[in-house]
Subunit: 467 residues, 2 copies
Amino acid sequence: MGVLTSQSEDFPKWYQDVLNKAVLAESGPVRGTMVIRPYGYSIWERMQAEVDQRIKACGAENAYFPLFIPMSYFEREAEHVEGFSPELAVVTHGGGSKLEEPIAVRPTSETVIGEYMGRWIQSYRDLPLLLNQWANVVRWELRPRTFLRTSEFLWQEGHTAHIDQEDARRYAVRILEDVYHDFMVNVLAIPVVVGRKTAKERFAGAINSMTLEGMMGDGKALQMGTSHELGQNFAKVFSIDYLSDKGAQELCWTTSWGVSTRMVGGLIMAHGDNNGLQVPPVLAPTQVVVIAIKDDPEVIETAGRIEAELREAGVRVRVDTRVDTSFGRRATDWELKGIPLRIEVGPRDLAQQEVTIAVRATGVKSKASLSGLSNKVSETLSEIQSKMLAFAIERRDERTAECSTLSEVVEAAGSGFARIEWDLVGEKGEAELARSAITVRCLQRSDGSLPYSEDEPGLVAYCARAY
Amino acid sequence: MGVLTSQSEDFPKWYQDVLNKAVLAESGPVRGTMVIRPYGYSIWERMQAEVDQRIKACGAENAYFPLFIPMSYFEREAEHVEGFSPELAVVTHGGGSKLEEPIAVRPTSETVIGEYMGRWIQSYRDLPLLLNQWANVVRWELRPRTFLRTSEFLWQEGHTAHIDQEDARRYAVRILEDVYHDFMVNVLAIPVVVGRKTAKERFAGAINSMTLEGMMGDGKALQMGTSHELGQNFAKVFSIDYLSDKGAQELCWTTSWGVSTRMVGGLIMAHGDNNGLQVPPVLAPTQVVVIAIKDDPEVIETAGRIEAELREAGVRVRVDTRVDTSFGRRATDWELKGIPLRIEVGPRDLAQQEVTIAVRATGVKSKASLSGLSNKVSETLSEIQSKMLAFAIERRDERTAECSTLSEVVEAAGSGFARIEWDLVGEKGEAELARSAITVRCLQRSDGSLPYSEDEPGLVAYCARAY
């Protein structure tokens, strides 16, 4: 009899329960918006820090462009406006009067950033131009779900301009691999499947969308991030051009790429269990909680000393001395919040110069000596990180079925991913799968690498139900 | 013949020139919005990091509340709606259809955060509740000016709920002193005047607004940040109440406080000179630039080695090896950007095992030995920080006149701040000064401390023209 609905009983209800009981987020007053509470936000802050550092290492610089975009900007790129019009929130009044031109609240910033890139780029010496922004965006959602699909969400959106197609492609792939893939595998411990979107699933205005797809606890897919080659589509309409070293006026090739607060939802669903959330140690805002079991001066003092020692050793740690609340309730609460490691300090253990260590991922408790505790903790944290990734890889592989017919795909997508030759699916098969709410998540070459076109022979399609 | 309009000729035009030439920011496509370019944004990121760390040290936690607020929320607090209605941007259409209730784009979040605090706070054990968010807000501006007054700006807004008035006041003052005052003096090197706003200048819905006023290069004031006691005004209308330890249902006392991207404008105008921006070393995203003067292998190699050494020593440093651009042009450019310290590496100096050090704040160049360079640099950076603050204090004090009549105030406010007994001004004098575009920036006790009420005897009023 847990505090949460069990995953097997009702996975969506389990997800809602985790949001509430781990105090992560709740619905905002305007339909589809969300309030991110401090613990949920601290997880997002850690994601931001890790992603931001990787983006900067790839040479992109942060900037900030306005929330408000003239409607006329959207109308310049035909596919883009078609894709985003149904989702726009529109400001018609400002400062007490009706506006001459209605304004869109940004759903993404290719248009406004394209406009400024066009002004800033003069010569080949200004290229590549590598920009990123951390911002909120608004896309009207008819079926909102906290973190996964909200009318307003937080994200980073990168926008770059390049001298030729090859340089643009190389950079879009670099972001996909060195920023997103590295972050998702090594920080989130989610072994995403990386591939190319089909034409049907492509970003509105892109010539190539690449994606990272995570497997959730119920076997469904979650698109965790995307990186797009935009070709010259936006360069044409926003005059993003440059004088080449040969003196010719040339159009740039642009890219865009983003990850969002949706990853918090992915984290919950990829690692959560019937006891709540599980946060991988590398990500966790709090890696270790030191619990004083009893109101005993030696216990309290020792718990404080352990906290200080661990902090000194670079561990993100907090101490729980709320001894007026029962130990059991506190332990359950830290489990719900998914703190990777608990150190329980009680008088009986202390008499032996020991504490009890409880690992959230395995539920295993063991004794550890007070001397050398911080080394033990650091080692255990890295073991937990590896185990969480290994477990997620195992599940992904177990639940990925090799299929050779569409009906096998439908069967397999009931509990996980289906791999099938893309030639056996094609646009027609894609439409047929859609009737069973199954989508082609991405295409890969048979060696797992990224295809340059969906017309390459021998591609493999990953199919799944998705959030 | 500088690259900038001189300050004495046209200060506002000088400000615009600095924004453009130091590549800090420009206007957005929708009236009153701005585009913050990478160098401007990197300054804001450093401000965020320094302020965020101080806020967290005061126990507040970051969260995120929605951009969209139902119009009905504003209507609950009479003064608040009256103050903000004229500045609201209103969304009337979403997802392709007209909305049933129009939605305000947040100009500030007391209302929506008040609503949630009302739901979350049950008992005195939940208090104080200390929240902060980093967000964008929108206030329709008729006379926009980049960074200083924009329709959209970035800020942090803190919102807290307390058990009684004393605790609320203490916390609002703590944020004012330990976060804002400390940051502005010790990081921005701007010796702000701290005091209480008059009733006329108070935040819409507050019972007490406290402010930090910086003196700009032209002697005008800039409100750099505010901290408000909201009394029980929002607690009443959003039912922010708690069960006391005596079992009684009591209303909370709330506060709010914020600083914004306006501080970037303050930084420019407080420290800038006819050669451009000047960034204090503690704030500067780049503290030192190492310039390779000539395309000479030893020069390039040494510049790189100095960069590595300084980075190792914790200095934020970059190297400039663009030897195909003239040295003079590059030096001017780094001056424009206000990098506190330049190290110039050239073959003649190297022959003596020396480099040339140029201090932006004083314009003084000197030779420094390659050995022990990083110690020399660290010392010089702290000297620059002290000098910039000392210079700003000196200017503030020189340009603050003791006055005893309103006409003296009008005279003095032409070039700086005027101090006058508040009893000699009062509401009537305040209205009279307004006709000369002069406002009472804040009230202090004669010892400089914060008054609890504007009716206290013996208060001093700081009057000035302001941005």
